[in-house]
Amino acid sequence: MRRKRRSIRGEHMEKVAVSAMSPDGLNAMVDMRFGRCPYFIVVTLDGDQITDVRAVQNTAMAAPRGAGIEAAQLVLSLGVNAVITGNIGPNAFMALQQYGVRVYMGVIGRTVGDVIRMYLSGELQQITAPTRPGMGMGMGMGMGMGRGMGRGGGWGWGRGRGRRWGGGQSGNW
C-alpha cells in the first residue's frame, strides 16, 4: 500500500527506525535483516525535515533465538512510529502491528538516507495485513496472544492471496 505522507512541519513529528549494517547515520547501508541487523538508525522527522539521527546498537543481534521479538521490543521502547527493513519475520511483524507501528519491507542495497527520502515521498511499500495461507498455524508459529488481550492466534485458510501483501483484513491477528 502506498500513501503519500502529509508533510506539514510541526504537525507531523515522528520517529522512523531503519535496520542498518553500520552506525553511520544516513550514510549507513540498510541491513536486510530486522532481528539480526547490528544497528538501528532512528531518524526523527518533523514534517519532511530530518531533525535528529541516532544510531542504536541492536542488542538482539546475537540472540540464539527470538531475535525478531527482542528487536521489536527494542524499537518499540524507542517509541518509533515506523520501521523500514529488508525482511521482518511474522512474529515481529505482528508485534509491531499490534503497537500500531507501520512496517515497510523489501528495501535492499540502499542507504538509510535514500530510504528516508523514499519514505517521505511515499515510494515505500507498507505491509498492512499479512496474507492468510495454511491451515490453522497451530503450534508451529503459535501466534497466540495472552488471554488478557482477548484475542486468539492462528492463520485461516489461504484465500485471496495476492502476489505480495494483497488481501484485505486478516481476521485472526
Partner: protein, 309 residues
C-alpha cells in the same frame, strides 16, 4: 559427584538399563530393541521396553499390540491477566526465549511458539497477573505383548517440545519399574543426537548403537559414539543390513576403534526379519532359522552377558 540422582534416573531403582540408539533414522533401532526384549522374555526374564522415540513411536506396532492407560503430558503456558498486569516488564526481561513483548502501558503480547515453558515469567510477576495454563503436548501409555511390558510416549502432532514428553515417558517407566520385579529395562531412542536422545540415553548402563554400512549411517554412528562417550555410557555397535555395501563392516569397525567401541553383531538382510516387521511378530520368537534371525538371537545372548543377567 554422583550423577545418578538426576531427574528421571533418580528413582533409586537398581534395574539394568540398556538403550538402543544409532544416530540415523531407519537403521532398524526399534527392530533390534523389540527383538532384544522378546528374546529376554523368552529366556524367562521380566522385561520392560520403553519407547522414547516420541515423534514416531512404533514399538507397539512392531509388537502388534494396542496400548492403554493413556495419560496426558502437559506443559506450562502463561496466561496474562491484562487488568492485574502492572506493565513492569519483568516477565519480558527474564524471558530469554523472547516469547513475551511489552512496552509502555500496553498489555503484554505472548508468542506461544517461542515459549519454552520455563515458568519464570509467572514466578517474577509481582502482580500475580500471570496465571498457569497447561497445554497437552503428548501422552504416555502402557501395555504388554509377548511377555514384554511396554511403556510408550507419544508427542502431539505439531508440538515442538518433545523433551518434556521423553521425560514423562521415562518417569512413567520408572514408576512401572518400582512396582514390579523387573530384570531389565530396554529404552528405544529417537534418531539423531539432540536433547531427546540425550535424555533417553541418560542413566543407561549400556548403549547399543544400530547402524548400517552406508555413508550416512557411518557418519551418524560417529556422532552417536561421540555423544555416548561424552555421557560416559559404554556403547556397543550392531551393523544392520550388513551385506548391502561391500567392505561396509570394515569401515564401521574403523569408526568403532576410534571411539573405543566394538561391533557385537552383524545382521544381514533377511526376508524373515522384514516379514516379522510387517506382521508385528518379533523374529526371535518365530521358529525360523535364517542368518538374520540367528544373528538377532546371538545378539540377545551377548547383551545378556554384558548386563550379567
Amino acid at each position: 559427584m554422583s550423577m545418578t540422582h538426576i531427574g528421571a534416573a533418580s528413582k533409586d531403582i537398581d534395574v539394568p538399563v540398556v538403550c538402543v540408539t544409532g544416530g540415523k533414522g531407519g537403521t532398524g533401532k526399534s527392530t533390534v530393541a523389540v527383538n532384544l526384549a522378546a528374546y529376554f522374555a523368552r529366556e524367562g526374564l521380566k522385561v520392560l521396553i520403553v519407547d522414547c522415540d516420541v515423534s514416531a513411536p512404533n514399538v507397539a506396532i512392531l509388537m502388534n499390540t494396542t496400548l492403554s492407560e493413556k495419560r496426558e503430558v502437559t506443559s506450562f503456558l502463561p496466561s496474562f491477566d491484562e487488568k492485574a498486569c502492572v506493565r513492569c516488564g519483568k516477565c519480558v526481561s527474564v524471558c530469554r526465549a523472547h516469547a513475551i513483548l511489552q512496552v509502555g502501558d500496553k498489555p503484554p503480547i505472548f508468542f506461544a511458539s517461542l515459549c519454552k515453558s520455563c515458568e519464570i515469567c509467572k514466578v517474577v510477576c509481582p502482580a500475580g497477573a500471570i496465571k498457569e495454563e497447561r497445554k497437552v503436548v503428548g501422552w504416555t501409555y502402557t501395555g504388554s505383548a509377548y511377555g514384554v511390558d511396554i511403556v510408550s510416549g507419544e508427542l502431539k502432532e505439531g508440538e515442538p517440545n518433545s523433551a518434556v514428553v521423553v521425560k514423562a515417558t521415562k518417569d512413567r517407566a520408572y514408576e512401572v519399574l518400582k512396582d514390579g520385579n523387573y530384570d531389565v529395562m530396554i529404552v528405544d531412542t529417537a534418531p539423531g543426537t539432540h536433547c531427546d536422545v540425550i535424555r533417553s540415553i541418560w542413566g543407561s548402563d549400556v548403549a547399543i548403537a544400530v547402524t548400517e554400512p552406508t555413508p550416512f549411517g557411518m557418519h551418524d554412528l560417529g556422532l552417536i559414539l561421540e555423544l555416548t562417550r561424552m555421557l560416559g555410557v559404554k556403547t556397543k555397535v550392531v551393523i544392520n543390513r550388513s551385506d548391502i555395501l561391500e567392505n561396509g563392516g570394515a569401515k564401521v569397525r574403523e569408526i568403532c576403534e576410534k571411539y573405543d567401541s566394538e561391533v557385537i553383531a552383524e545382521i544381514p538382510l533377511d526376508r524373515e526379519i522384514l516379514y516379522s516387521y510387517v506382521k508385528g511378530y518379533p523374529a526371535v520368537l518365530r521358529n525360523v532359522d535364517t542368518p538374520g534371525v540367528r544373528a538377532l538371537v546371538r545378539l540377545g545372548e551377548t547383551v545378556r552377558g554384558l548386563l550379567n543377567l
